[in-house]
Symmetry: C2
Subunit: 147 residues, 2 copies
Amino acid sequence: MKKPARPPAKPVRPSALQAESLRQTRREHASETAEDYVEAIADLAAAQGEACVVDLSRRLGVTHVTVNRTLARLQREGYVSVQPYRAIFLTAAGSKLAKECRRRHGIVVAFLRSLGISEKTAEIDAEGIEHHVSPETLAALAKHTGK
Amino acid sequence: MKKPARPPAKPVRPSALQAESLRQTRREHASETAEDYVEAIADLAAAQGEACVVDLSRRLGVTHVTVNRTLARLQREGYVSVQPYRAIFLTAAGSKLAKECRRRHGIVVAFLRSLGISEKTAEIDAEGIEHHVSPETLAALAKHTGK
DNA sequence: GTCAAAGTGTAGCCAAGGCTACAGAATGTT
DNA sequence: AACATTCTGTAGCCTTGGCTACACTTTGAC
């Protein structure tokens, strides 16, 4: 498999940069779940006073079992506070994260809407995109939308 | 955890829509790997004639073991053709997918650059974003960049 | 031809995030 | 108080996608 005549350097995209980009994307993916959860918990708390497991499972489109296990992880990581058969609360760190997510989500949706994207598509795309927008890009989107 | 006084309907974001958006994001995530791989294979083949496991592992920022296992899955799914100790080839389906990915990646990067994002950040963000851009949004981005 | 280096393959481990099936707790109605 | 419903929790299974460690093939140089 050794390439006998390897053209010294004609990388379409520099290999190291792409590898780093993909590593970054994987890191982001690891925190996506946390972000989705704290955002949902904050929303539910705002809308109806408190968040419970079934509400979250409906909201997130997974079973209550998945919610339960994930909450345990988020508690381990310090984002939420959970006790058996009790409501779910965000810690200070969780609230902070939720706030940032909400802001970022809003900016991304507003930007997409400003491009003429339908509301439904904007919501769907934003949900996927928002976790991968750097501060630099987020600022640019906000500026572009606001102009 | 039953909410005694549940306000009938004051969802910040409609629960069903968000659940569906998240489900969509998860579906996209499942195909992200395939897209990254076929894109890398196509690039390597274009740049140096053929793609091998170590090249891919360097390119993707994972070990050769991970590449190997993933290639087995992609073969199962009909995107690549692999034989022990032989070069890696894309099937027709794989080539088609790679072409689409490349186009989409180009559009996203060009758009970010047009917003004034630095090249490096544009690459990193694009890598995360490109998998979550709907055809509708992609068209809008292309139009916006090209205008 | 030999041999070392590089590439490839395999075994087995881990965590995350899905799921079903079942058991126990809380709640609201009667 | 009893009961049915809903909610919550647990056990155990699956797939994906990381990894290290070790074994085997190819390749290139001598």
